[in-house]
């Protein structure tokens, strides 16, 4: 009996292993595919791939001759015989591109248009990128590319590539795809404990401040990578004109609040505005000038905190939102030049207009006397309202409207008959 069991158990084990192996082999080629059918044979027709395969970086599925990893050889509902939408296919293998709690994401990545940056088969550049480092980024971020190229003072990490600071897909660490928010990211290279750092910052404890409020991380024409427009006292390191000593208990506290801080130097401008009948109230609140301006350095003219439209939209977002919905837009508004018509500090006219009358404001750009035969001006009463005169805004809305020529009404007839009611049909 013992002899029998010694024979049977190994025999059964052999049968089991053989069965499993043969089963596995069957599953691997259950369609009885020919050798190379998953990829290599594709080159029989797609012979241009021969050239592509000479690239130094080849996508792993292609390297493994697994074209069917992405493509369906027979039919597909998706372009290029893909097994699914392009982005979906990529993330089926590249599962770690997007952190679970991403703070910021790259639009092209989240939309699944990976091929805007990567070649899915092979490329000259690492990670199958279709171009090299920042050159690739600047294909879309053109304005930034021009700025970086023109900068007199370069920031070394930018020269090395955008990925020095940014994550190209998504970041759990910071806004605008930054690997970490400012100042943490900056302090990884710039050691705030060093004497030179302290000296450059006048001894102020800036390691907790937002570096990008003064410095342009992409390069600048100013020393120290300050933004191109620098406030004179700041450029001269006259910090004490506005702040207490750097060693004070609250070193960043300003010597006065609101517009009164700026009054010492800009008294003429401020007093001139305070004498006008209508004030832009933010100028007088506790924040004052700093509602719109920065005190140190800015990329914008007039030391504005942001481009003018964005500054104005901080409060007048409804106007900006309206513009996004209308068909015809007034060009100064779309160009971000609100001050073409409005005075940002104070005015003697309602709506903070630059000129005493609407007609004069418009006439600063439009030579209305030549192109308009309709009577306008103080001598012509508006038939709709005895206390109004006919002016440009009688027919046009200054920022834009859903209708042609920025008219208030959908058609010229409808517009005209708001006054010329006898002709209304």
């Amino acid at each position: 009996m013992r002899l029998r069991s010694d024979f049977i158990i190994p025999f059964l084990a052999f049968l089991l292993c053989f069965g499993l192996l043969s089963g596995a082999h069957g599953a691997d080629n259950k369609f009885n595919l020919k050798e190379g059918a998953k990829g290599k044979n594709c080159l029989n027709c797609h012979d241009s791939f021969e050239e592509m395969l000479k690239n130094p970086f080849i996508h792993t599925p292609l390297k493994n001759w697994d074209c069917t990893g992405c493509h369906n050889p027979h039919a597909s509902r998706h372009g290029k015989f893909l097994d699914a939408e392009a982005g979906e296919i990529c993330v089926s293998c590249h599962t770690d591109l997007f952190p679970e709690k991403a703070v910021s994401t790259h639009k092209v990545a989240i939309e699944g248009t990976c091929v805007k940056c990567h070649d899915p088969h092979a490329a000259k550049y690492k990670f199958n990128l279709i171009n090299n480092g920042k050159t690739l980024c600047f294909e879309c971020h053109k304005e930034l590319g021009s700025k970086v190229a023109a900068a007199k003072y370069k920031h070394m990490p930018v020269e090395k590539g955008c990925v020095s600071c940014h994550d190209p897909h998504a970041s759990a660490g910071g806004l605008t795809l930054l690997k970490e928010n400012v100042p943490g990211l900056c302090l990884k290279c710039h050691d705030s404990s060093k004497l030179v750092f302290k000296k450059q910052h006048g001894g102020f404890p800036v390691e907790g401040a937002r570096c990008t409020s003064c410095h342009d991380p992409h390069g600048s024409s100013q020393k120290g990578l300050l933004y191109d427009k620098v406030h004179v006292p700041f450029a001269k390191k006259q910090c004490k004109r506005c702040h207490d000593e750097s060693s004070a208990a609250e070193p960043f506290k300003t010597k006065a609040e609101g517009y009164k801080l700026c009054l010492g130097c800009h008294s003429n401008m401020i007093n001139e505005n305070l004498a006008k009948s209508r004030l832009h109230w933010p100028m007088l609140d506790g924040v004052g000038c700093l509602n719109c301006h920065t005190a140190h350095a800015s990329a914008q003219d007039g030391l504005l905190k942001k481009p003018m439209t964005e500054v104005c939209a901080q409060c007048h977002g409804d106007t900006v939102q309206w513009l996004q919905t209308v068909e015809t837009k007034h060009s100064p508004v779309t160009e971000g030049s609100c001050t073409s018509c409005h005075s940002p500090h104070a005015a003697n006219q309602v709506l903070m207009l630059n000129e005493p009358s609407v007609v004069e404001v418009c006439a600063s750009c439009h030579d209305w006397q030549k192109h308009s035969t309709h009577p306008i001006g103080d001598d012509y009463k508006d038939p709709r309202n005895e206390n109004l005169v006919v002016d440009c805004l009688s027919c046009h809305r200054s920022h834009g409207t859903p209708y042609g020529k920025m008219m208030h009404a959908p058609s010229q007839t409808e517009m005209c008959t708001t006054c010329h009611s006898a002709f209304r049909r």
């Binding site: 609040e257 004498a275 209508r278 007088l284 007048h316 106007t319 309602v350 709709r384 309202n385 109004l388």
Partner: protein, 298 residues
């Protein structure tokens, strides 16, 4: 020479005089008449506020640096007088005390000016012992039934409460985040409602509160740029959406109850309106700023 007296028919006025509460609820914002000018034919210019009683209207005729007094007599709006002196520069708010004085916020020099009932200059309202007094920037002010004076100080981001003699009583802090408070109102209950133009949100402080808290959520989807707020005897709120050209009605809890008027020139429509006064007799007076008129609704 323009029309000396503007004749109007104010339907149901007699009923309203005797049944105030009923009329307030029945305020449907139907246009009754508009005031365009005084007896000399001088037109209103960008009026920004109206104070009213059962039989009087005081218009802050901002662009003309004056107040204009009209009387309500039966079914007529009758010009009484203009109030004009050098201390009154661009009046943007006008209020009445229980003693019949007229107070106005002169925005150009940011002072509150006091006048007798017939418009004689009494002096500026002087504040006493207010913390950080030298930096006060009054954006709006109100006088309650006990003649306590409330001032919205946008520099200090607070509402100051003072006695009629100017003695500092207390302050109520407004939120510190990016805000643009343009106006507030003191309800009969003593609760204060302040309107933030940028967030299109109402903040409230109960009678003895030390700070404001948001009342309901932002009304961004209902309003463009609210700049004025008032209340009726029932505590309902009327918020002027300046850029939207409309009056938005809110319940005591801040819930949206509807909107009236709309942007335009025609009677019943508004163009950058600001102040609203409810006279308790079923009439609402709206400073229709960019239409250079005050419209009366019932």
């Amino acid at each position: 020479m323009r029309t000396v007296v503007i004749h109007i028919l104010i339907m149901a006025l007699g009923l309203c005089l005797t049944k105030t509460a009923v009329c307030e609820q029945a305020l449907i914002f139907q246009p009754v008449v508009s005031i365009y000018s005084d007896t000399d034919g001088k037109g209103l210019l960008h009026p920004e506020d109206v104070a009213c009683t059962a039989d009087s209207i005081f218009i802050a005729d901002t662009g003309n640096n004056r107040l204009v007094h009209y009387g309500l007599e039966g079914n007529e709006v009758k010009f009484v007088a203009q109030i004009h002196f050098s201390q009154l520069q661009n009046p943007i708010r006008v209020q009445l005390t229980s003693k019949g004085e007229i107070w106005a916020l002169s925005s150009k020099d940011r002072r509150i000016v006091r006048m007798t009932a017939d418009g004689q200059f009494l002096g500026n309202f002087e504040m006493k012992s207010v913390p950080d007094q030298e930096n006060i920037v009054p954006r709006s002010f109100r006088i309650d039934r006990d003649d306590k004076v409330y001032i919205l100080d946008i520099h200090g981001n607070r509402v100051l409460v003072l006695s009629a003699r100017g003695d500092f009583l207390r302050q109520i802090d407004l939120p510190k985040e990016l805000t643009a408070f343009a106006d507030f109102v003191v309800a009969n209950s003593g609760t204060i409602y302040a309107v933030d133009s940028v967030a299109a949100r109402i903040h409230t402080a109960s009678k003895d509160a030390e700070s404001f808290t948001p009342l309901a959520k932002s009304l961004k989807d209902r309003m463009n740029f609210p700049t004025y707020i008032t209340t009726d005897n029932s505590g309902n709120l009327y918020v002027t959406d300046q850029n939207g050209g409309k009056i938005v009605l809110l319940g005591v809890d801040g819930s949206f109850r509807g909107q009236k008027a709309g942007k335009g020139w025609a009677e019943g429509l508004l163009n950058y309106p600001v102040g609203v006064c409810l006279n308790g007799n079923g009439l609402a007076f709206v400073a229709d700023r960019n239409n250079n008129r005050v419209q009366i609704f019932r």
